[in-house]
Symmetry: C2
Subunit: 178 residues, 2 copies
């Protein structure tokens, strides 16, 4: 940040009074412009036959690697609404029965990734501009060496390690230091 | 947002190509400035005798109302680190044994509140610039009509509704529409 989004004057990078961190502070209007981590929300969709759905990314970063559907949470929505929206946008899946599955911090990227375990009501899914391939994988078929993100890997492993009943999955809360 | 934080020129409020939402887009450098929900992280501290710790706010908003210690997650930290930091900053409690307890979206405020159940190793706590009173409450003493935020109320109720064993509490995932 170089300029104040409110008034357009230059910002200083300094520790404000009554604070202990470097902030961007406007040299003109004195507004402190805080910067905070962003939330990525997504789902782990399970088909009626127990296979899980993955998307092969059609966009950078990590183009051509496999991921769970997900993306940046938007203002005005809930974590769940964001996760379901991304699932439809990336794989055309209308997911049901959402259960919180993982909350993983990525402090090096100023991000928190949050995934829901969801059911697919049927075998409907499709490619999208963001996913050039969408495919179901059995437990033994998951392309572990071609996954796009470590939060996807951790979330998949956490799901697969659970007892057969995942009606109420335990919630993985962890972080990844890179 | 009126001006581009990068180059200082005026921003437009319009839907970019390949998008479906209004964004702030720089009229000069074309950068899209996304705005996303912010995370508030905090704790529900339990003393060795089972009482819970609440802080009476010394600052606006909701000055003189009771809250769980918490605040905005900072860049570069994990949800847990943020929650423990805020617990010390607001109540001088060095919490242990954290377990994720609630994740509650507030879409009207573009916020997500995330609380951990934590243990206090002893009865050490103190007032701070943010909390003019810090006090332990038994289950029957909680000042329900003087709580600062509805996410605090929901998190406390979720905790108190659990079975006596809270070694692995269930995680409340909900939202509040205002
Ligand atoms: Zn300014
Ligand atoms: Zn610009």
């Amino acid at each position: 940040m170089n300029f104040c989004p409110d008034c357009g004057h230059a910002v200083d990078h300094r520790i404000p009074e009554d604070d202990n961190r470097l902030r961007y502070v406007c040299s003109q209007c004195a507004t402190v412009h805080y910067q905070n981590p962003r939330l990525i929300t997504g789902t782990l969709p399970v088909a009626p036959d127990g296979r899980v759905l993955l998307c092969c990314r059609n966009i950078e970063p990590r183009k051509d690697y496999w991921t769970l559907p997900g993306g940046f949470m938007e203002n005005g929505e809930t974590t769940l609404a964001g996760a379901l929206r991304e699932t439809y946008e990336e794989a055309r899946v209308s997911a049901i029965n959402p259960r919180l599955l993982s909350v993983i911090s990525l402090p090096a990227y100023d991000q928190v990734h949050l995934f829901y375990l969801v059911d697919m009501p049927d075998f409907s899914f499709a490619t999208t501009p963001e996913s050039h391939t969408v495919q179901l994988f059995s437990r033994d078929e998951i392309p572990w060496d071609r996954l796009a993100f470590r939060t996807v890997e951790h979330t998949l492993k956490h799901y697969l390690q659970q007892a057969s009943s995942t009606t109420n999955p335990s919630v993985l809360n962890d972080h990844i230091r890179l």
